[in-house]
Amino acid sequence: MSATQGTGRADSTGHVGRTVVDIAAAVANGSLSAVAVLEENLAAIAARESEVHAFNLVTTDRARERAIQIDADVQAGKKVGRLAGVTIALKDNMCTRGVETTCSSKILAGWKPPYDATVVRRLADEGAVFVGKTNLDEFAMGSSTENSAFGPTRNPLDTSRVPGGSSGGSAAAVAAGFATASLGSDTGGSIRQPAALCGLVGVKPTYGVVSRQGLVAFGSSLDQIGPFTTTVADAALMMEVIAGHDPLDSTSLPQPAPMLTGELSKGVQGMRIGRITDMPEGSSPDVLAQLEAAFDALRAAGATVVDVQMPSMLYGLTAYYLVAPAEASSNLARFDGVRYGLRVDAKDLNSMYGATRAAGFGDEVKRRIMLGTYALSAGYYDAYYGKALKVRRLIADDFAKAYTKCDAILTPTSPTVAFKFGDKTSNPLAMYLCDVFTIPTNLAGHAAMSVPFGTGEAGLPVGVQILVPALGEAPMFRVAAELERAQ
């Protein structure tokens, strides 16, 4: 296929998407204009955004200026970056200087950050064109993007269904052809689960591999930024650009970005792939059938499948839903009506805090702030938060034991394909169960990614999750590339 034609998969409208790799190469050599790429995305947005609602803000004018500049640089023979002309959507919890950043919350509506997140700067330095800021569950708390203060995002593959969450807008934007790639953040599965539900590749890097500077914090010991793409090669290239040490994030690991594009052709010959024999129940048969097919594909490519145990996996939910709200209740204390966003005036400072936060936060955010504050309060700390941290250790220990026997573990990403709106909104615990397979990775600080593998109920995509130990990105991408080839 020629570089200008693109090799991405067709979306539901039959439009063949271009890939990051193809666009960057073609724009840099002058055979494709950045403006043409952008205008394709803007046309798709004009056609379907009112139905999908992937964006909180489309930055049309800035994007056009930027694309024109990149084309001019190419014409002038200037060196352009590794992502020249690649259109990218950013989850609206990443700071963009002078461009509204809301976290899909009323409390931040209208706020324009005075700086760019490190990932935003790195993408811009490599020639990316930002299309807009995408919708999310308020402050990234949710698994369906139904918790946004600005209304839900719909799954472009079936608009009666959710796109997953919390990075639902970033997933929908790529699946609908509104952008070539996007960034999301993953605290308990918020990149991998929407990637699975929208038929995309989604990566949660090892904790500390991608800078969190400029990402509005939710659970600081769990959050990582990562890409959504239509191909594994695109995800590898995006990772190479956004990863690597950042002195502005004190939890950033002091090492360069992993080189991943070279891994893709290496295959899985001799690799040991773990199958969890005591996996939590509740996955639907269509999802489990694709997981089996994925094991078969890796076996056929020369890998060995070995049994491993994760007895603490189910308890990860409990640990997560105490640790994440505890960290969130602390992080969200900064939204107090003083420095940014909403203020509800009152007679004194304390009343202003209480009234502003009551008016600014939605139900799920209030619920988690309450849960977290309770779990951290005197008299309850040891019973809840303290225990949760010990369960977190058990999960890390289970993984350590499993990885003495295998190089990577395969699980479903989500127990089901994309579900219908309202299916899980009445019962918070049912919604939390969506994340049972993704949460342990965040608790342990490891890397994982979701790769589309076949379809399930109603012809909707199924995602297979590849789990690896900390800094296992290279073998993870080898497995991902093999699964993609087997499609």
Binding site: P114, T318, L389, L394
Partner: protein, 100 residues
């Protein structure tokens, strides 16, 4: 694990979190938090007596940088996005004198 959460505890936690909740919210929150905390008792099945808590997934110690002057955020730009500012500072309502 402790006893189920009460209305009074929910109201106290809301005060700690600087979150004004109305009556209906206190009611709903009491029920929902009780349901979740009940579910979280599943970890009581685990023996955690000799387990070290894990606070940081990948611990880094003493992350320091050289003490050199670097550009910082523009003050006017920062104050420009605040709800209220005056004389180069954030402006807030009275801090003392109105405590109940």
């Amino acid at each position: 694990m402790p006893e189920p959460i009460s209305r009074e505890t929910v109201q106290k936690v809301a005060r700690l979190a600087r979150l004004d909740l109305n009556e209906a919210e206190v009611e709903r929150m009491t029920q929902q938090l009780a349901g979740m905390l009940e579910h979280f008792r599943d970890v009581d099945a685990l023996d955690l007596s000799n387990v070290e808590p894990l606070t940081q997934p990948i611990p880094l110690a003493n992350v320091l940088r050289d003490d050199v002057v670097a550009p910082s955020l523009d003050r006017d730009e920062v104050l420009g996005s605040a709800p209220a500012a005056q004389d180069g500072r954030f402006r807030v309502p009275p801090i003392v004198g109105f405590e109940e």
